[in-house]
């Protein structure tokens, strides 16, 4: 059934629309037969990867003063382009908003989303996506002024809390308050800048959003020590790239690029030393750099794809340090397991 991968809401529009949806040729969504991947074939034929990114989110995807896209998510687009073309610039970035990102991927306007999208069951099934990997573990938290003396979120009973509407943030806050029997007064403000200003001006006691966003806001304050991010995390936000369901080969490629980046960090391979890794006798290293195992070809790309990616972009830790550490985000759950005790766990690269 092809229409299973169509979004659920289409069904509600009416019989005529459904008929049109079913009649749509859906060749690009056919499961890969044998070794071919329609998405990878289309990207190769086109000569560029089309990557859906955020319209602007500090650290993850934002154009710099010269209009060049930079950030943690954007680097995953570059990594896929390097794997396919050995050229980080063969990417076209399509800015997508929270509203049109899923359509852009469903309709084939973009090949993949690298847009800090939370992996949920409904997105995985009824929207017809695959989430190849979790590149960033986030969660919703609270920031309060240090002078308030609040140590934990459970002390926020009766507080006014600044929150942005429309996203899952507001819903999580309500759910958490109900579960913990906490009364609060929400101050709902749409724009990031204004909600932060409202918090700074003291219109609310606490400001809630994803911990990464809190850290970014805190880091640009004149005295970051005046603000405390509470240890409580009230939601799980596993963020990662998304691809269309049905093209497992392309999903595999994106997944193993991420695992390769984590493995490189595990093995201590960086953009500086991976050039000399050929002399490293460790079998894991030899497999990662493509000298043994023929692993790249199994994914449909060059065997040296991880060398090319790490040389240009660095390993997972280096990508993190380049984009996210400057805006005040700690490694925390995104440290590599087991060495640093985080959640970034790469299955064996062999």
């Amino acid at each position: 059934m092809q229409q299973i991968s169509r979004p659920g809401f289409l069904r509600a529009i009416g019989a005529a629309v459904i008929a049109a949806a079913v009649a749509m040729p859906a060749a690009a969504q056919q499961p890969a037969a044998g070794g071919s991947s329609p998405t990878m074939d289309a990207i190769r034929a086109r000569g560029t990867l089309i990557c859906g990114v955020n319209t602007g989110l500090a650290g993850f995807a934002q154009p710099d003063s010269q209009g060049v896209w930079r950030g943690f998510d954007v680097d995953y687009c570059r990594a896929v382009a390097i794997a396919l073309f050995n050229d980080p610039d063969k990417v076209r970035y399509v800015p997508t908003t929270a509203q049109n990102r899923f359509t852009a991927l469903q309709s084939g306007e973009v090949d993949m989303l690298a847009r800090n999208t939370t992996w949920t069951l409904s997105r995985d099934t009824s929207l017809g996506f695959d989430f190849p990997a979790i590149t960033f573990f986030d969660g919703q938290g609270f920031m309060v002024k240090a002078s308030l003396g609040v140590r934990s979120a459970s002390e926020l009973n009766g507080a006014t809390i600044c929150v942005q509407p429309g996203t899952t943030t507001e819903q999580n806050l309500t759910d958490w308050a109900r579960a913990n029997r906490i009364q609060f007064q929400p101050v709902v403000i749409e724009r990031l800048e204004e909600v932060v200003n409202a918090y700074l001006a003291g219109r609310c006691d606490a400001y809630t959003t994803d911990v990464s966003g809190l850290a970014a806001t805190r880091s640009v304050q004149p005295r970051p020590a005046d603000h405390v991010i509470l240890p409580d995390v009230i939601s799980k936000e596993p963020l990662g790239p998304a691809v269309r369901h049905g093209d497992q080969r392309f999903a595999d490629l994106v997944r193993w690029i991420h695992f390769g980046l984590v493995t490189a960090e595990e093995l201590g391979l960086t953009s500086q030393n991976i050039g000399q890794a050929a002399a490293d006798a460790r079998p894991d290293v030899q497999r990662l750099i493509g000298r043994t195992g023929d692993l790249g070809r199994m994914l449909g790309v060059d065997n040296a794809f991880m060398v090319n990616i790490v040389t240009r972009l660095g390993n997972y830790g280096q990508m993190f340090e380049r984009s996210l550490t400057p805006i005040g985000i700690q490694r925390g759950p995104n440290a590599v397991w087991p060495a640093a005790g985080g959640l970034q766990y790469a299955p064996p690269f062999r």
Partner: protein, 380 residues
Amino acid sequence: MSDITANTPAMSSSEPRSAPLTAVGPIAWLRTNLFSGWLSTAVTLALGYLIVRAVIGFVDWAFINAIWSVPVSPTGVAQTQACRDLQGSGACWAVVTEKHRFMLFGTYPYEQHWRPAIVCLLFIGLYIVSSMRRFWNWTLIPIWIGTLTTIGILMWGGILGLPYVPQERWGGLPITLILATFGLALAFPLSILVALGRRSNLPAIKVLCVLYVELIRGVPLISLLFMASVMFPLFLPEGMNIDKLLRAQIAITLFAGAYLAEVVRGGLQALPKGQYEAAEAMGLSYWQKTGLIILPQALRLVIPPLVNTFIGFFKDTSLVLIIGIFDLLTAGKTAIVEPSWQGFGVEVYVFVGLIYLCFCFAMSKYSQGLEAELNRHRRR
């Protein structure tokens, strides 16, 4: 002053005396308008004080305490500490200095920025030429076609040695101008046809036009943009994509067309029936009657509401931000996403607002002049 002439003897040598200073001139004007009574004087003084305070405060903020540039570290991170130390007492124009090219041209390749810059100038030139009455003849058509072709070549490139730039990298002011110009240039003829159709005696045409206007006017522009951006691609065959900008452009054109049609219809209805009957009595065909007699009078009548709608739509193009197109306002908002520049939104909005103001004010001044000129026969 008639009493002076009446009382003065007819002496040709005496100079005509002017009225006392308290009766004419600026002092008299002040006395009658601002200080005519104690209440009026009090209000004047209070408002004057507030205005002076506001102006001084603004000048302090915008010029005297302002910071115009900040150092940028070699890694490309701006050192905005100086700006933050101002604590809002002065403007941080450094954000505009640093980001103005991004705000104006978005993610267009940096070294190719001269191309969108020329495009903006071409658009402005096109507006000026189109507004001069001496070009109001057939020459305007080749001028528009030529200019728009040049604009297309400059923006896309790919020929004449210009590198190809895909549409999703366009941004900033050119996007705003493209959406507004094409939207209004296409919507205006469409609106005339729809307005005529709505007054037609042919039931099918009339019903179609009424349906179009009522359906489009009945939904907000945002929902049309969503329809074009989110729903429409799902109805297309897999792998077939219509350019996002084109989809937004069509939505804006259809929306503007419906509103303009009602404005034009207002002009058509304001014409006395005698004009229609006289034109018919002369034996003119429907299109001759419409083109030569009805429309010139009807459109002249509706210049103010037309320009009102034009200005509204010029600004409405900023709604494309919800579908991820980097128009001028979106580019401005994106410029302050970077953590080191967060918190300097006012400066960016002032900069973007000034650009919008320039275009909208020019439109409004031009329409005033046009109105005065076209309605000259009424002021006898």
